[in-house]
């Protein structure tokens, strides 16, 4: 929680005072607008979110397992910016950090980075 508050603070400081060169290095904008608990502890998510996502991805793709906690759509549901409605864009939750870490992010070439627009699910008679 403390780490999170610091991260948010950093984000704010960066946004407001980047020009004033208050920090020597630019930091990513990590704005967590929705309160509440992530599906795993913050340090686990920081280190291993890609492993969790990849594991769930294969289970969904090959075995049709569509349970929620580690699905990409669940990440987006919480982490999309309230301003842009997306997890990408300069201050998007995913992109800002990936830009900072210089790790190419290609999920969004195919996946929808905005929550909502759910498909109507027909019911089998």
């Amino acid at each position: 929680m403390k780490a999170l508050a610091i991260a948010v603070l950093w984000g704010l400081t960066f946004a407001a005072a980047h020009a004033a060169e208050s920090g020597r290095t630019p930091k990513p904008v990590i704005a967590i607008e929705k309160p509440g608990q992530c599906v795993e502890a913050t340090d686990v998510m920081r280190r291993d979110h890609m492993k969790l996502l990849k594991h769930q991805r294969d289970k969904t793709m090959h075995q049709g397992i569509r349970s929620k906690p580690h699905s990409l759509n669940e990440c987006i549901a919480c982490h999309a910016s309230q301003k842009t409605g997306s997890v990408i864009g300069a201050e998007g939750f995913c992109q800002s950090c990936h830009d900072y870490a210089a790790v190419k992010l290609d999920c969004w070439d195919c996946h929808q980075p905005k929550p909502g627009q759910k498909a109507a699910t027909g019911v089998r008679p």
């Binding site: 090959h62 049709g64 569509r66 996946h111 699910t121 019911v123």
Partner: protein, 268 residues
């Protein structure tokens, strides 16, 4: 299964999944146990006549893997399909975020309407054509990366995470069912990720089927009052589709290829 690639697991770095076989054919004992128990539990309840246990058990919980007890398939009654009606095609485009086909040579088409006329008799037919969800899919045989695969329940899919866009599968498919995505996309349905550089085809609306739903085209056809498309479990002798296939003569297109198709046609 007469598949000679059953041993050839894709050499990608996927995490091993519990109970996963060659192409998702595998099944695990405890899952079977679970299904058997849930079916038994359901049997204890009073069911309305005609509602059948296996189909209820098939609406699996989200956390359960699909099994080969089910084989999803479709029966298309060409005597009911109306020439000029493209409701199935539009429903597919809307559901899967394909949009309108404006450039037919390159835009993705998962389902097409085809009109056929016998030149001698003048007898005309109209029918939708899409991936036939072959039990022995040539697209899977030729795929060099293992991206093209068949799920345990018979649905043939492309794993875009592994697809390199080589388009071998497009050449191998006898039904022209696959499309290459040429351009970037941003308006995907969150349930149907798709983007430039991969090959794709009809998924039988797998995202709906996994939640107990019906493919969008089947729903649209019924909504239009034509009822030319029937979706169901070919493995369950009591399902509507199996009963119908038992009663009337149905055709697999190019049955000579012996691909054991999941989509069958009536009246051709």
């Amino acid at each position: 299964m007469s598949n000679n690639r059953e041993q050839a697991q894709p050499a990608n770095d996927r995490h091993p999944l519990p109970g996963e076989g060659g192409r998702g054919e595998g099944s695990n004992v405890s899952r079977r146990g679970f299904l058997a128990t849930s079916a038994a539990a359901l049997a204890g309840l009073t069911l309305a006549p005609g509602i059948n246990l296996i189909e209820i058990a098939a609406a699996k919980p989200d956390s359960e893997p699909v099994t080969s007890k089910v084989r999803w398939g479709m029966l298309i009654d060409t005597t009911r399909c109306q020439s000029g009606c493209t409701d199935c095609v539009s429903a597919c485009g809307k559901e899967n975020g394909l949009g309108e086909v404006t450039k037919p040579r390159t835009d993705a088409q998962w389902i097409r309407k085809i009109d056929l006329t016998d030149l001698k008799s003048g007898h005309a037919l109209s029918l939708p054509m899409m991936c036939q969800h072959c039990a022995n899919p040539p697209c899977v045989d030729v795929c060099p990366t293992g991206a093209s695969f068949k799920r345990a329940d018979g649905i043939v899919l492309v794993d875009r995470h592994t697809c390199i866009g080589c388009r071998y599968c497009m050449m191998a498919c006898p039904y022209k069912a696959r499309s290459f995505v040429h351009e970037p996309h941003t308006d995907q349905n969150p349930e149907v990720p798709r983007g430039q550089g991969c090959v794709e085809s009809c998924t039988l609306c797998v995202h709906r089927v996994d939640r107990g739903g019906t493919p969008a085209c089947v729903e649209a056809c019924a909504a239009a009052g034509h009822n030319a498309m029937m979706f169901g479990d070919l493995n369950n002798p009591e399902s509507e589709i199996s009963k119908r296939i038992r009663e009337v003569k149905t055709t697999q297109v190019r049955a000579d290829l012996k691909l054991d198709l999941g989509v069958r046609y009536e009246g051709i």
